[in-house]
Symmetry: C2
Subunit: 431 residues, 2 copies
């Protein structure tokens, strides 16, 4: 039976299934994008690292590698850019879509200054610190795109994988920042208090990111992570972290440790990238499987509904007749063919239960994203209230959490609740 | 400048704004639907009430009114049905859209048996209890559509209004169920324990629904609600509730109170409907204003971005040249025209902040919907675990909340957390 001739209940059931399919098709494209973004981020991390040591140590022997990484980054940037360009901006969009577009606009904006950044690095017209900050900003923008992708996916399993990947990328990016901070400290011979604090906070946040990653990762991915965590580079890293923490103006170390640290951290980050690639491959596999499954489901659903519709026809005609007649008087027989009606109800209830379950699983998978949003929101509240910088606000919340023996998200929730009370108080006072 | 020639960052910013506009346009249609649903629900509530007394009291003098209400209901049903039919099921849909479609499929399914229900009522071939249950189910389905509409709206202010309206409709529906339960009790001469418990739970849940309504309602709507809460009918209602609670087999009342109660409750519900209509009118006004505002915003945004794009052109060309050339070597001058670049960044940051704020407000407005979802989820967990019926599960959770001096949602959260622990334990045991 053609779809437009089906009874309305069946048409809406079919349309609901089609929404799932369309959401998944869009998600396949997004996941492909995310994989490319992961590669671009890695290239930019490398370029940031080499720029950093090139500028900080005036290590001209790194120039060849730097040029090579810039070229790699440029090629990957073009791929990501093309992926963005392929998005159909004229298609009907949802609010989530809008959020994604804004994140992408940020990325495009940051990418525009890459060329001039690269020139300034080669001309030594920018400090290591500022160059690092510029790369970090672009990487942050790319991670924000991955965050939105995870937050707007409507398939629970894929959401779990995206959440795992996002947190892994986040942890890896913090490891990259630790590399940069370490390079600056060792190049200087010792770490001052601010530097030490920054190192410690990067280490703590890495741990937290990888914890969340482990909560959502597949058993395979977890096993691979365990291997990375117990290798020699990790042991060396911990040794160097202790050395860094024990330096001070009167106890400086050989600045040659700087390059040693850099190479070691580069090894560490490259090992992470191998796992990251595994994660993005898994993600793409999952997308392919899910879309095959749901396509099969939609077509068997369509067949089933078509069969039901054929049997259901007399009822629908009777119903139409009734409505057109405005006839509500008794008729000799009950027109509802009970068996068909029951099958429809069963299907309807099944579809509702599946939807419910998918929603519950989604809520669970998105929990860590929501915690992050709460923390960001509280941070911005603190910034606007007390004029703190983003880093200061973050540090303040972190101290409160440590002092109170609670999680960051609990501190965030309290801050937001307090702000709400003030706002509502003001509202009541105005009324 | 034509949009496709704009720099990518600007195109994505514009597309994000367009998503807002499209979301709002869809929302206007949904709000219109919700208004029609509110009217249909009211008609069905009347029809349920009159069917109930017609069957329960064998009060044939209510037949004329009953027929009139059935006709009214039929006409409003056609309007709602047409509204559903106007939805473009082939348009690209989101997961929220899918949820809405399933709810609508349920409504279509329930509406199909209305004709036969009406015949059976007139033939006295159905008990008052079963007829009430059938109407209640359809009304529940319609309320679920309003719930999804509230949950999928992306405009914070309109979400607040939809949440207020949904909770008001919910409270009014519980008042309708209280009317029916009261009719059954008074017609019987007294209320047994089950009936008394049911009355009390309907009263408690009404209060909670109206509390949430008040949290989200405009000051105007609140003032109108205060008038309803302090009028004579409300005082009489409370008197009758006390009488009902004091009846027992050895202390029955004149069954004539039944019709008195019915008329009184009908007055009470009609007063609620007047406020409900005010709420739906406010909602439509809001939609009109919002859409006008955002249309203006989109077109001024487009103008502004167009101007920026014109000034930005040299950069974009330079950038394209760079990319095509793969050229990353230094150039004599920095190509970024700083002023234009800053304006773009300012706009981008403004749009991000607005989006952030809208998201925060949405989260706040949806809080009560999420609580409801949590309660429903915990209820279903209880049902599948201990084989309880929906009412039993609800009653059990309510008792736990009362005994523990906590809110229903806290009980729900504990139940869900316990179930998660069991599930995760099982997962670990399997691994």
């Amino acid at each position: 039976m053609a779809e437009r001739n089906m009874p309305a209940a069946l048409r809406f059931m079919l349309a609901a299934r089609r929404c799932d399919l369309q959401g998944l098709e869009e998600l396949v494209h997004t996941c492909k994008l995310v994989s490319n973004i992961a590669q671009l981020v890695h290239a930019l991390q490398k370029e940031r690292g080499y720029s950093n040591i090139y500028l900080g140590r005036n290590a001209t022997h790194y120039r060849t590698e730097l040029d090579q990484f810039s070229e790699e980054g440029d090629a990957l940037e073009r791929i990501v850019r093309n992926g963005f360009e392929l998005m159909d901006l004229d298609a009907v969009g949802s609010a989530e879509r809008g959020r994604l577009y804004i994140r992408i606009a940020h990325v495009f904006y940051s990418m525009e200054s890459l060329g001039s950044l690269r020139r300034r690095i080669r001309d030594h017209q920018i400090s290591a610190r500022d160059a690092t900050a510029a790369f970090t900003q672009l990487i942050g923008g790319l991670l924000a795109v991955v965050f939105e992708a995870a937050d707007s996916a409507a398939d629970p399993e894929i959401t779990r994988s995206l959440v795992a990947l996002f947190n892994f990328m986040q942890g890896k990016e913090l490891a990259g920042q630790e590399r940069a901070t370490g390079v600056a400290g060792f190049a200087h011979g010792y770490f001052d208090d601010e530097h030490k604090q920054r190192m410690q906070s990067l280490i703590d946040n890495q741990e937290r990111s990888f914890e969340v990653f482990l909560r959502y990762a597949s058993d395979d991915a977890k096993a691979r992570w365990q291997v990375i965590c117990t290798n020699e580079v990790q042991a060396q890293t911990e040794g160097f972290r202790k050395i860094a923490a024990n330096t001070h103006p009167a106890a400086s170390v050989d600045t040659g440790l700087c390059e040693f640290w850099f190479e070691m951290q580069t090894q560490r980050i490259n090992a992470m990238q191998a796992l990251e690639q595994y994660l993005t491959q898994q993600l793409q596999e999952q997308c392919k499987n899910s879309i095959r499954e749901i396509r099969d489901e939609v077509s068997s659903h369509r067949r089933l509904l078509g069969q039901l519709a054929e049997q259901h026809l007399p009822l629908e005609q009777a119903r139409l007749f009734n409505v057109q007649d405005g006839d509500i008087t008794p008729q000799p027989q009950d027109v509802m063919p009970t068996q068909v009606s029951r099958s429809i109800l069963d299907l309807l209830q099944l579809q509702t239960r599946q939807l419910q379950q998918a929603n519950d699983e989604l809520t669970e998978a998105r929990a860590s994203l929501n915690e992050r949003k709460l923390i960001d929101r509280a941070k911005h509240l603190l910034m606007s209230e007390s004029g703190l910088s983003e880093n200061e606000a973050h540090a303040k919340m972190q101290r409160s959490a440590m002092d109170g023996g609670v999680r960051m998200v609990d501190v965030a929730q309290r801050l937001i609740a307090a702000a709400e009370r003030v706002k509502n108080g003001a509202r009541t006072a105005r009324a």
